[in-house]
Symmetry: C2
Subunit: 421 residues, 2 copies
């Protein structure tokens, strides 16, 4: 009961604030973002001190080094967070655009106007940069946000949100446009997911467990994403010498992210290339998990590999591990992708235009590539200027989500005391 | 367990069928729709006989005349259903269009291609025309559907779905592109709402109870809609003589639909016009539910009205009832709308361009009108050619949903063995 009253309060305040933001002009929003950057700079030492307390607590709680590195802020990282705000300031403001304007036969002048979504709930884990990033993107598009970060970064997030709220007030805007849930009680996440009276969209930024919790519990539309079981298919007619650097790029450049390669599907006619592919990947520290046939080939060439199974093909590795499977043709590759893909990014490597076209038609993931690395699936790479999340669902937004994904439209109809006939 | 196996089977079959439909060309889909129209015409007497059995059962179960009229098919209604297919055949096919094509600095040729959603689940009540309408719109856009109609029309729906499935087979396509859940067990609805492995979108077409069930239970994205608590605000500077026919149109033309007027907000300076408005509406059979002040005015003029309260203003009347409230200015009207509206359709009646602009900016419903009837919110009126539903949520589709709302897009990236730098 206390939880629901607390959340209801947050929701009402966010909704009220969203009305103040909805019709702000682009210059006012640019000024707001600049004020946030200035306020973060002024609060630098307090923010770093708070982050120090989070790091100390995390060490005491026994978190590993990788996790502590994720929540760590230092001068350089805070500089980068502040510098990123300038990038968002410079982006065009999508709000207010009118599309599909037309005069209907019934005399009505009809158009669709792009407007903010309203209130966005964001649930994320231990990366304090997300607090600023999401607040700034939401405010740029005239939305209010309710933030729920990881409990490991609560001290840092409180300072970051505090600075943002002071900037809002200094610009004469309601501080409650950005609210941070500062209570670590897990029940608050479930409560937030059911706050449909006040919240228009939930963006979970985290792993499979969080995504599933949101899908199961939310009564608010959720943007699922960020899980990538990504495939590349090396066709019989690919140039292996040119393809290999692309495979390596997809797997090795940054193995911990969602657009990294998880499974390489190899046409059986390319089986002679397997030792070369395996050797180059192994030399870069890649661990192979191969189907029985490809494992035998690799083994003959003295390259070790674990045996793949149904579970391994359904795994997002997020590490220097790669599944390998031999397939008889492009259709077997497509079949495998349909079965195991999370709908994020898939690629074909081929010189045959017909096979490429077939793959583009039949594979239905957020991003499908011909002769390119799956690593391109990224808001920055796609030229969106910012990335709210990478959606792997089909409604509202698919793939990298830019500012437009934080907007909706309303229909406007202008008549002259016009009735329907 | 049996239920979940049954639903899983439906889901798998629908998903498999969706792959066969996804890349069909527009001519093949037009031929399919024409085959459906032909098959329905051939099956006419069987369909009407099945509908007769549904009507008999409904009478025996004590359904009232209005409900029986909703499920009734006769020669004329079946003709209309078949004729509507020709309209959909003639609509442009949105599938395959490529948008936002560009060459990125990284050498990638990027575009977004419009593709079908995949599998759509539709849950609806006792209107057999929906069975054909939704199946035809889904197939036109290359989607498979799982239909769950009302138990009152099960016999009719089985015959309609059977005809559609025969047409699919006659065109060499999988019959399972259209599947009807023929078991009235309510648990199947809950199961369908959680079939996220196979179903991409749920469209509930029914009342508040069904909408809420879907929001609560679904793990699949749901398009909520069709609930309209619609407002008109009569401004101090409106021409009452010209405004009154628009008010009457919004309330009286078809009171049982979601875009009909529910509450009239009247500027206090127009209080002298209240008796005229009340008298004209009462003469058309409209029952008034008025705030204390407006009720007193009406009463002085000899016009009866019930006293409005919080609950009555939160009611979608779906009948010849109208709420009336006096407000001091446009902002009080906007405040009332924000509190009670379901986000469907609102209108202002005014001659003042500034007040009109303010209302358009501040009211955030799916459709906002100046000097026009709320009755215009309709796919046909908006020129969309078809209407899947009227969405009152903000994601994916808002307001009347045409064919485009049954599609998504995938990003295509064409490189030349291109790696990310």
């Amino acid at each position: 009961m206390m939880i629901s009253e607390y959340l209801k309060g947050l929701g009402q305040q966010a909704r009220a604030a969203s009305f103040s933001l909805a019709n702000l002009g682009a210059p006012a929003k640019r000024a707001l973002l600049q004020a946030i950057a200035a306020e973060l700079a002024v609060s630098r030492s307090d923010i770093l001190a708070a982050n120090g307390r989070d790091v100390t607590a995390a060490r005491a709680a026994g978190l590993n080094d990788a996790m502590i590195d994720r929540l760590l802020l230092n001068e350089a990282r805070l500089d980068a967070i502040i510098a990123d705000i300038a990038t968002v300031v410079a982006l065009p403001d999508p709000i207010g655009e009118e599309i599909d304007s037309r005069l209907l036969d019934n005399g009505l002048r009809l158009s669709r106007r792009r407007v903010p979504l309203g209130v966005i709930g964001v649930i994320y884990e231990a990366r304090p940069n997300v607090t600023v990033e999401i607040a700034v993107l939401a405010l740029k598009t005239g939305n209010a946000v309710i933030l729920r970060g990881g409990k490991e970064t609560i001290e840092t997030n409180l300072l970051l949100a505090g600075a943002i709220r002071r900037a809002l007030q200094s610009e004469g805007l309601p501080a409650d446009a950005v609210q941070l849930i500062d209570n670590p009680d897990r029940a608050l996440v479930n409560g937030l997911l059911r706050l449909d009276r006040y919240v228009d969209m939930i963006v979970p930024r985290g792993g499979q467990g969080l995504q599933r919790l949101c899908a199961e519990q939310a009564t608010i539309p959720v943007i699922l994403g960020g899980i990538g079981i990504c495939h590349m298919y090396l066709d019989s007619q690919a140039d292996v010498g040119r393809a290999l650097p692309v495979i390596i790029n997809a797997k090795v450049q940054r193995p911990t992210v969602c657009n990294a390669l998880d499974t390489l599907l190899v046409h059986r006619k390319q089986v002679a290339s397997l030792p070369r592919i395996g050797r180059e990947l192994a030399a870069l520290g890649v661990k192979l998990v191969a189907c029985a046939d490809s494992r035998a080939q690799l083994s003959d060439a003295g390259i070790g590999a674990e045996l793949a199974d149904d579970d391994s093909f359904a795994t997002e590795w997020l590490s220097l591990t790669l599944g390998i499977k031999l397939v008889s043709d492009v259709d077997e590759a497509i079949e495998h992708i349909r079965r195991y893909s999370s709908g994020h990014s898939e690629a074909i490597l081929t010189d045959n235009v017909h096979t490429a076209g077939h793959f583009l038609n039949e594979v239905n993931s957020a991003a499908v590539y011909v002769n390119a690395s799956t690593r391109f699936t990224d808001g920055g790479q796609f030229g969106l200027g910012a990335e709210v999340a990478v959606s792997t669902q089909k409604l509202h937004a698919r793939g990298p989500m830019g500012l437009e994904a934080l907007t909706t439209y309303k229909w406007l109809g202008i008549g002259d005391y016009t009735s329907r006939g």
